[in-house]
């Protein structure tokens, strides 16, 4: 198995998960509590990556990252490197591509937190922010963990977007799933087999963990 591809995949998955915890939880909390009518539009946008072909998302990101786009130019001015076909570009793409896998479970579990517990905390003089961290977030923890685990697994296995935005640069954008594709193209089935089996086992383990977590949510609720 390609060690640098494994390291890259794990790095990408970990950073995407952390990034979506930081960005996704506030977004999910807003979706879970707002009375704003345009909320359904926001929910639709968040869930788009679920149905959009990865190549479509990848194509638009490639255009947006390109050296002629304002974003691409700003990035070059800032860092000296182009955003397309770089690890940073890959990370941005992963954040967008895994958005629904994080935000949907986050929002579902946040909206299930009993509103009265939150109000009870407010009426005890505890600020909204402290109430969120001490009451809402711990009670939504199973859904938050499930979302984080799904994000990690999903990022580990993503292929289309990575290929479009990152290409296949060893050590920079060549992730595990790209490595498998590459091995098969080179007819190196032994290597493809090892990597594929690894991803299969990891996916199984991750889904098992989320299912167990979900069940423990059920049993603590009843």
């Amino acid at each position: 198995m390609d060690a640098s591809a494994l390291r890259l995949s794990l790095e990408l998955a970990a950073l995407t998960t952390v990034g979506l915890l930081v960005l996704g939880i506030p977004l999910a909390q807003w979706l879970a509590t707002t009375a704003f009518r345009g909320k359904v539009i926001a929910e639709t946008i968040v869930s788009m990556p679920l149905v959009l072909p990865p190549t479509v998302l990848g194509y638009y990101l490639l255009v947006a990252f390109g050296n002629r786009s304002p974003l691409g130019q700003a990035w070059i001015r800032l860092t000296g490197h182009p955003l397309a076909f770089s690890f940073a570009g890959l990370l941005v793409a992963s954040l967008l591509y895994s958005l629904p896998f994080a935000v949907q479970p986050f929002a579902a579990s946040l909206s299930r937190v009993d509103k009265r517990l939150v109000e009870a905390s407010w009426s005890l003089g505890v600020s909204r922010l402290a109430t969120f961290f001490e009451i809402t977030l711990p009670l939504a923890a199973p859904g938050i963990v499930a979302g984080a685990v799904l994000t990690f697994a999903h990022t580990l296995g993503e292929f289309g977007v990575v290929l479009m935005v990152g290409g296949n640069l060893p050590g920079e954008t060549r992730t595990l799933s790209i490595a498998i594709f590459d091995s098969v193209e080179k007819l190196d089935y032994a290597s493809a087999n090892a990597t594929a089996l690894f991803l299969l086992v990891v996916s199984f383990a991750v889904l098992l963990v989320t299912h167990v977590l979900r069940q423990s949510v059920w049993t603590t609720r009843s």
């Binding site: 009265r116 109000e119 009870a120 407010w122 009426s123 005890l124 003089g125 600020s127 009670l139």
Partner: protein
């Protein structure tokens, strides 16, 4: 008035109109009474700042509360199902509003007698214990006003009776004015000093508990409070399941409600009062009270008779018996009330 809670608010959804001036002096517990859907909880949430009125204003001891968050109002709120934080121990539940003040946590835990339960989780508590913990949690930050939404409705009857007494004792001790929402007559009598009756989103009557029960201001209020005589009573002695009580200078026999309180409200449904011509008193378990008719008012097939028996007593009798006894103001009658029909609601003075 400075020592009062002034409420003058309107809200369209759900509809509510409330104009109230609740004194916060010596008689600290006000009951918001009405059927479900009458707007009691809505009013309580508006006072807490959990909801906002469409228009109007709330002032507490001269301080304008409009636009203040629940945090800034410094109130305590008890939710109907207690709303304890399920992931925190009893100790951390109580400490939530008083960070780092362990002494205060111990103090309120002792006050409501949950100091043995501090390391348990809410799921390991009985309904009555949860209620006590919720009360301790609300009291810990020393709120200026305590708001209780159907505080005892989630409990079974025995723990309810026990907690009614205790809740009032604690509120009196702490000298914290409280507003209690309830649809339960007994709870209203056991807890309240003052009573505000709500029907269809409107405050219809506000006054001393016994007064509101004794003289409802209109038919809607009368329907909500029921056809009940309510009089403050003193339990003189208890024997063999019966209690001898005095209402003013009149002695009656009632069923012993248990407990150790000697102050109570005696409740007698007007339908349970029988009228007879005055005669030689028989001495049985039933109460026979000589009285004078004050008013006679026909109410459909029944006649509402107000008597003076040493206290004001309302009887509902059929037209036929009213005619037979030629009931009219000034006439002497005897009111008969069986002991089980005199219901005692004990309360802390």
């Amino acid at each position: 008035m400075d020592d009062a809670l002034l409420i003058d608010i309107e809200k369209a959804r759900p509809p509510l109109r409330a104009r109230l001036e609740i004194p916060l002096d010596a008689a600290p517990i006000t009951v918001l009474f009405g059927e479900s859907g009458a707007g009691k909880t809505t009013l309580l949430r508006l006072i807490a700042g959990l909801d906002r009125p469409d228009q109007g204003s709330i002032r507490f001891r001269g301080e304008v509360w409009d636009g203040l968050s629940p945090q800034e109002r410094r109130i305590g709120f008890l939710f109907q199902e207690h709303a304890l934080f399920p992931h925190l121990s009893v100790r951390r539940n109580i400490a939530h509003g008083v960070r780092g003040r362990d002494q205060r946590v111990a103090e309120v835990a002792r006050l409501v007698r949950v100091d043995e339960l501090l390391d348990r989780k809410p799921a390991e508590l009985s309904g009555g214990q949860r209620q006590r913990v919720a009360l301790a949690r609300a009291l810990a930050p020393s709120p200026r006003l305590l708001l209780l939404d159907e505080p005892l409705s989630a409990l079974d009857a025995p723990s309810r009776a026990e907690l009614q007494i205790e809740l009032r004792r604690v509120l009196e001790q702490q000298k914290i004015p409280a507003i209690v929402v309830t649809h339960d007559r007994v709870e209203a009598l056991a807890l309240g000093d003052r009573l505000a009756v709500l029907t269809a989103g409107e405050v219809r009557q506000f006054g001393r508990v016994a007064e509101v029960f004794a003289s409802p201001s209109d038919a809607a209020v009368a329907r909500v409070v029921g056809t009940e005589n309510v009089a403050p009573a003193l339990i003189l002695k208890r024997a063999e399941g019966l209690a001898t009580i005095s209402i003013g200078s009149v002695e009656l026999v009632a069923l012993d409600p248990g407990g150790a309180e000697n102050d109570a409200f005696a409740c007698i449904r007007a339908e349970d009062v029988l009228l007879e011509p005055p005669g030689p008193g028989e001495t049985s378990a039933r109460n026979e009270l000589p009285g004078v008719v004050i008013t006679v008012t026909p109410e459909g097939p029944l006649v509402r008779v107000v008597l003076d028996c040493g206290f004001r007593l309302v009887a509902l009798v059929t037209r036929r018996s009213a005619d037979r006894f030629r009931l009219a103001p000034g006439r002497n009658v005897a009111a008969l009330i069986k002991a089980p029909s005199v219901r005692l609601v004990p309360r802390v003075r």
